[in-house]
């Protein structure tokens, strides 16, 4: 297998390399790629959509259809991980561990037995290690700022590098950071699986629904200028706003899927104990 792999890799490499002879050199401003379509985008974006960040405009408007599916891909991946790995078990057989928060005493509860209802105990993982104070504190401090930054990245995608994907990933990472710095249960308490799993398609629905709304106004799918009467703005600004709406949808979808996939993968599908 190794030799076959080597041969195939080399063959492919040679084929691809041989073709580079006809390619423009690196950074050539006159290459077809830079002269055919891209000048249009660069020169007309402002006129068409009034979004200065061309990448955002192309991503969410000119090629907004691609991006909608991109979001759907993310959602599909989340759903795929869910269906492949998720195991619904009411309770793992065996003993459970609880920790008395104030004293740090660990209590082992036999299978079937119950602890009196009290806020003093928290459930802990079987492989539990005492939390490091520094990590816990720093993360706790950082997470709100990370989330704030994520929101900024989504909202400011029109004017600076950023957008729904980037912002969504940052938001998702903040929750994952929480899960890593404390444990999965804490993170799941903040973001229940059901909420997560429902928000995930909701994000995509915001995107696709915005597009579908345009159909209802008699325009083509994803033609945001159809939303002008709804938003009380001119068609071009409507495009800009449309982009913002879908970016928010993307942000929600990406954030939730990232959390979902992480939770499922790290807990092996049981959604109880993480890394």
């Amino acid at each position: 297998m190794k030799i076959i792999g080597l041969i195939i890799a080399i063959l492919t490499g040679v084929l691809l390399l041989s073709a580079t002879a006809d390619f423009p050199i690196f950074g050539d401003p006159d290459s077809p790629a830079s002269t055919h379509l891209s000048p249009y985008y660069i020169e007309k974006t402002m006129e068409d959509t009034s979004v200065p960040n061309i990448v955002t405009a192309v991503l969410a408007d000119y090629r907004g259809y691609d991006t909608m599916y991109e979001t759907a891909v993310i959602f599909t991946a989340g759903l795929a991980c869910f269906i492949i790995l998720r195991i619904f078990v009411r309770e793992e057989p065996g003993d459970r561990l609880y920790r008395h928060v104030l004293t740090g005493v660990t209590v082992r509860v036999k299978e079937g037995a119950k602890l009196p209802p009290s806020d003093d105990f928290e459930r802990i993982d079987t492989m539990w290690t005492p939390p490091d104070l520094i990590i816990k504190t720093v993360c706790r401090l950082l997470i709100p700022f990370i989330q704030l930054f994520g929101l900024y990245v989504i909202a400011h995608g029109h004017h600076s590098p950023g957008g729904g994907f980037q912002g969504g990933v940052i938001l998702g990472a903040s929750i994952i950071l929480l899960a890593i710095s404390t444990d999965l249960r804490t993170a799941v308490q903040r973001m229940r699986e059901k909420v997560d799993a429902i928000l995930c398609p909701v994000g995509v629905i915001i995107y696709a629904g915005t597009g579908a709304l345009c159909i209802l106004f008699g325009f083509n799918f994803l033609d945001y200028s159809a939303l002008a009467p709804l938003l009380h703005v001119d068609p071009i600004t409507a495009r800009s706003h449309g982009i913002l709406i879908v970016e928010i949808g993307v942000g929600i979808a990406v954030m939730c899927t990232m959390i979902w996939i992480y939770n499922i993968l790290s807990s092996g599908g049981k959604y109880d104990e993480g890394l």
Partner: protein, 136 residues
């Protein structure tokens, strides 16, 4: 020799991406460990992303965000005139955002499958798994 070197230097982006791609492809076919194959897959995808992004590069151009005044709607006419040569090609960036997302999605699903395989066979080495299947 000098010519070849010049070609390589002028188009080094392609050489780099192809090398990366070959590494990734080899790992996907030749490696025995399922997770190593997944790593190979990621390298492969990254190589393609590099390739695309390098297409968009233009010498002497800046990032594709137009210079604009903040907050005010009254753009002066001069500010609207944009020269395409000043900004890099935005399209490959857009495409690669998509490709990155696809890569992440595939990676997630692949890892989920790998976990499932590991649950079943208690190993991720392909030959050991095949041996187990044959034993049955």
């Amino acid at each position: 020799m000098g010519d070849l070197l010049q070609i390589i230097v002028a188009k080094y982006n392609y050489w780099i991406y192809i090398t990366l791609m070959m590494i990734g492809l080899y790992a996907m076919i030749g490696k025995n460990n399922l997770v190593k194959k997944i790593v190979g897959m990621s390298i492969f995808q990254t190589a393609i992303i590099l390739f695309y992004v390098s297409i968009g590069v233009k010498k002497g151009a800046t990032i594709p965000i137009l210079e604009h005044g903040h907050g005010e709607h009254g753009h002066s006419a001069a500010a609207l005139i944009v020269h395409a040569v000043d900004y890099v090609n935005p399209l490959p960036h857009v495409l690669m955002l998509t490709a990155i997302v696809v890569g992440v999605a595939t990676l997630g699903v692949a890892l989920a499958l790998a976990i499932k395989v590991h649950n079943r066979f208690n190993t991720l080495e392909e030959d050991e798994i095949l041996a187990q299947i044959r034993e049955k």
